[in-house]
C-alpha cells in the first residue's frame, strides 16, 4: 500500500533535510574560502525568495535584481552615513524592498504571464539606470565603497567565519518563514490561483491581491539577501541591480526546482559552487551553464529537487 512508501519517503525526506542542515552548519570548514560560503547562503536565500514569486505565484519576474539591489543599497547607506545598528540597517533594507514591490507589482501584475516578464525587466533596467546616474547617492558605476561591518550587539563580525554564521541565522529564519507562508491557506490559495486563475476567481478569491502580496513577500526576502550581501562584501556594486543577476536567479530556481522552496535553495548553492569551480578550470564555464540551463528547461523541467519529489524519492 502507499502508506509504507509514504513512510519511507518521509523518512528519506527527514534524512535529506537533516543532512542539508548539517552541511550548512559545517560548510565553512570544507570549502576553499569562507567568503564563498557566505555568498552561497545569500544566493540560496535570494533564490528561495524568488521562488515564492515564480514557483508559487506563477509569475516569471525578470526584475528581482531591483529588490536585491534596493536592500543592499539601503543597508549600505545607513551603515555608511548614519552608523546604523546592523539590525536596523537590515530591517530598513527589507522594508524598502517591500515598499518598492508595491508600485512595481501593481502595474506589472495587470499583465499576466510573459508580459509580466518583460515589464519587470524594463522596471529593473530603469532602477539600474537611476542608480547609475545618481552618483552622489549610490556612487554610480563605482558602487558604494568602503562600508564597515558593524558589530552585532557587541560581537565583532569581522571574521569571515562569524559573519557566515550570522548570515546562516537569517537564512534559517527566512526558510522557516517561507515554509510557513507557503503551507498556510494563503500559500494554498496562491497555488490554486497559479493553476487556474479563472477557477480561483469563481470561488471568490481576488487573484491580483494575492499575487501582489506574494510579490511583496518575495521582494522582501530578496531584499534581505541584498542587505546581507552588503554586509558581507563591505560594498555594494552597481551590478547588484543588473538584470543579469535576475537571470542568474531564474537559472538557480529552475535548476533546483521551482515551486519547492528547497529546490531553489539547492539551486543557489549548486550554481554558485559550480561557477566558482568551473571558472578556475575552463573559460567555457558560461557556455556550459547556458547549455545546462537549456537542457534542464527541455528535459528536467522540474529541476533537481522537483524531479526527486516527483519520483517520491524525497
Amino acid at each position: 500500500m502507499a502508506d509504507v512508501h509514504e513512510t519511507n519517503r518521509k523518512r528519506r525526506e527527514k534524512i535529506f533535510y537533516g543532512l542539508a542542515v548539517l552541511v550548512l552548519f559545517f560548510l565553512p570548514f570544507f570549502i576553499p574560502y569562507k567568503a564563498l560560503g557566505s555568498q552561497i547562503l545569500i544566493f540560496m536565500l535570494f533564490a528561495m525568495g524568488y521562488d515564492i514569486c515564480l514557483g508559487y505565484a506563477g509569475m516569471l519576474s525578470f526584475g528581482h535584481a531591483a529588490f536585491f539591489g534596493m536592500g543592499a543599497y539601503v543597508t549600505g547607506l545607513l551603515i555608511l552615513h548614519q552608523n546604523a545598528n546592523i539590525l536596523v540597517a537590515i530591517f530598513a533594507g527589507v522594508l524598502c524592498s517591500a515598499l518598492l514591490a508595491f508600485p512595481v507589482g501593481y502595474t506589472a501584475i495587470r499583465r499576466r504571464g510573459i508580459y509580466f516578464a518583460m515589464v519587470t525587466l524594463a522596471y529593473a533596467q530603469m532602477f539600474y539606470f537611476i542608480a547609475f546616474k545618481w552618483t552622489s547617492l549610490t556612487g554610480g558605476d563605482d558602487g558604494l565603497q568602503g562600508i564597515p561591518r558593524p558589530d552585532f550587539f557587541g560581537i565583532s563580525l569581522q571574521s569571515e567565519t562569524r559573519v557566515y554564521y550570522f548570515i546562516l541565522g537569517f537564512l534559517l529564519i527566512a526558510i522557516l518563514f517561507a515554509f510557513r507562508v507557503v503551507h498556510s491557506p494563503f500559500g494554498h490559495a496562491l497555488v490554486s490561483i497559479r493553476e487556474s486563475e479563472q477557477r480561483a476567481q469563481s470561488i471568490g478569491f481576488n487573484p491580483a491581491r494575492f499575487k501582489l502580496l506574494a510579490f511583496v513577500i518575495s521582494a522582501s526576502l530578496c531584499g534581505l539577501a541584498g542587505s546581507l550581501y552588503c554586509i558581507l562584501q563591505n560594498f555594494v556594486p552597481l551590478k547588484t541591480l543588473h538584470w543579469s543577476i535576475s537571470g542568474d536567479i531564474v537559472m538557480m530556481t529552475i535548476l533546483g526546482g521551482m515551486g519547492t522552496l528547497v529546490g531553489p535553495l539547492f539551486g543557489g548553492m549548486f550554481v554558485v559552487l559550480v561557477r566558482e569551480v568551473l571558472s578556475t578550470y575552463t573559460h567555457l564555464w558560461a557556455l556550459i551553464m547556458g547549455v545546462s540551463f537549456i537542457v534542464i528547461v527541455l528535459v528536467f523541467r522540474k529541476g533537481v529537487i522537483g524531479e526527486l519529489k516527483k519520483r517520491a524519492v524525497i
Partner: protein
C-alpha cells in the same frame, strides 16, 4: 550627503545657438534610423508572439548574430549587398533549427518554459559568439556606394542612414502586405486565432510555426547587419536593445504590426531626441511611459483585448 540627482556639468551645457533647425531635423531623421532597428526587431517579436505565443527573449541575441553573420560574410570576401541578403538568412536558419529541435517540444507546456528556453538560447548565442570572435568589437564598413552624404535640399544627411530607413519601410510594408493580402498570410493570421482549425484544414501548422519564427528572427538579423556599420559589433550589443523593444511592444501592443511600427518609431524618436535635450531622464522616460500605458491601457495602443493575455 547630497540627495539630488547628478546634474549636468555646470556651465558647460550644449551651446544653445548651435542647436538650430537643421540639427533638429537631423535628429528627427536619426530618431527614424534608431526607430528602424526597433521596428524591425519588434515586428519580429510581435509576429512570433502573435503566432506562437512566445516572447522571444533571444530576439536581441539574434540581432547580434545578424551583425556577426554580416561581419563573417565580409571576412569571406562577399560584398556588403550579398552580406545584407545572406546574414538575415543565416539567422533565420539558426532560428529554424532552434525552433524545430528545441522550442517545439515546449509548446504544450506552460508558457514560461518557452520564454526560459529562449532566454537560455540568448545566453548560449552570446557565449558562442564571444568564444569564436572574442570580446573586442568587430568592424563592418559602410559600403562605398552608400558612404557620404546626400543633399536633401534643406540639409545634408548620410546616405547610409537613409538606406536603413528605406529598407525598414520596405520590410514593414512588405510584411503587412504579406500578412493581410496574401493567402499564406491569411492562413498565418488564422493560425494565430485558432491553430486547431487551421490544422484541421490540412495545413501543416508546425511548418508555419517554424516559418514564422524564422521570419521573425530574420527581421532581427536584418536589423543587426544594418546597424553593424554604425556601431560597435560586440557579443553584448543585443542586450540593451532587447529591453527597449520590450518597452516598444508593451506600448504598441504585443502581436500588433501597426503597434510595433508606430511604437518603434515613437520610442526611437523619444530616445534619440531625449538624449540630446535631457540625457538624465531620456532613458527613464520610456519606462515611465510604459508604466503609464500599463495603468491606462494595458493592452497597448494597438493591442487587441484578450489577445493571448
Amino acid at each position: 550627503m547630497v540627495l539630488s540627482p547628478n546634474r549636468r556639468f555646470q556651465g558647460l551645457g550644449p551651446d544653445e545657438s548651435l542647436m538650430n533647425t537643421t540639427t533638429l531635423i537631423m535628429m528627427l531623421f536619426n530618431g527614424l534610423v534608431f526607430g528602424s532597428y526597433l521596428v524591425l526587431l519588434s515586428l519580429g517579436l510581435s509576429i512570433i508572439f502573435g503566432m506562437l505565443g512566445v516572447v522571444n527573449f533571444a530576439q536581441g541575441a539574434l540581432y547580434m548574430l545578424g551583425a556577426y553573420a554580416g561581419y563573417t560574410c565580409l571576412l569571406f570576401g562577399l560584398n556588403f549587398w550579398l552580406a545584407l541578403l545572406v546574414a538575415p538568412l543565416v539567422v533565420a536558419f539558426i532560428a529554424m533549427l532552434a525552433e524545430r529541435f528545441l522550442i517545439r517540444h515546449l509548446y504544450k507546456e506552460a508558457d514560461i518554459y518557452v520564454v526560459l528556453l529562449t532566454f537560455g538560447l540568448m545566453l548560449v548565442f552570446e557565449e558562442v559568439v564571444r568564444l569564436i570572435f572574442g570580446d573586442l568589437g568587430r568592424p563592418i564598413a559602410v559600403p562605398d556606394l552608400l558612404s557620404g552624404v546626400v543633399n536633401l535640399g534643406f540639409m545634408y544627411y548620410p546616405k547610409y542612414r537613409l538606406f536603413i530607413i528605406g529598407v525598414t519601410a520596405l520590410c514593414a510594408f512588405g510584411t503587412w502586405w504579406f500578412l493581410i493580402r496574401t493567402k499564406l498570410g491569411s492562413i498565418i493570421r488564422a493560425g494565430t486565432d485558432d491553430s486547431e482549425m487551421v490544422d484541421a484544414l490540412g495545413i501543416h501548422i508546425s511548418r508555419i510555426y517554424t516559418g514564422v519564427f524564422a521570419f521573425g528572427a530574420g527581421l532581427a538579423g536584418l536589423a543587426g547587419i544594418l546597424a553593424g556599420p554604425l556601431q560597435e559589433v560586440t557579443p553584448l550589443m543585443g542586450n540593451e536593445i532587447l529591453i527597449q523593444i520590450f518597452v516598444v511592444v508593451v506600448i504598441g501592443g504585443l502581436g500588433s504590426i501597426a503597434g510595433s511600427i508606430v511604437a518603434g518609431l515613437l520610442i526611437g524618436e523619444i530616445i534619440t531626441l531625449g538624449v540630446l535635450f535631457w540625457p538624465t531622464a531620456a532613458m527613464t522616460s520610456i519606462y515611465v511611459l510604459m508604466a503609464v500605458v500599463l495603468l491606462v491601457r494595458p493592452r497597448g495602443f494597438f493591442g487587441r483585448v484578450g489577445f493571448h493575455e
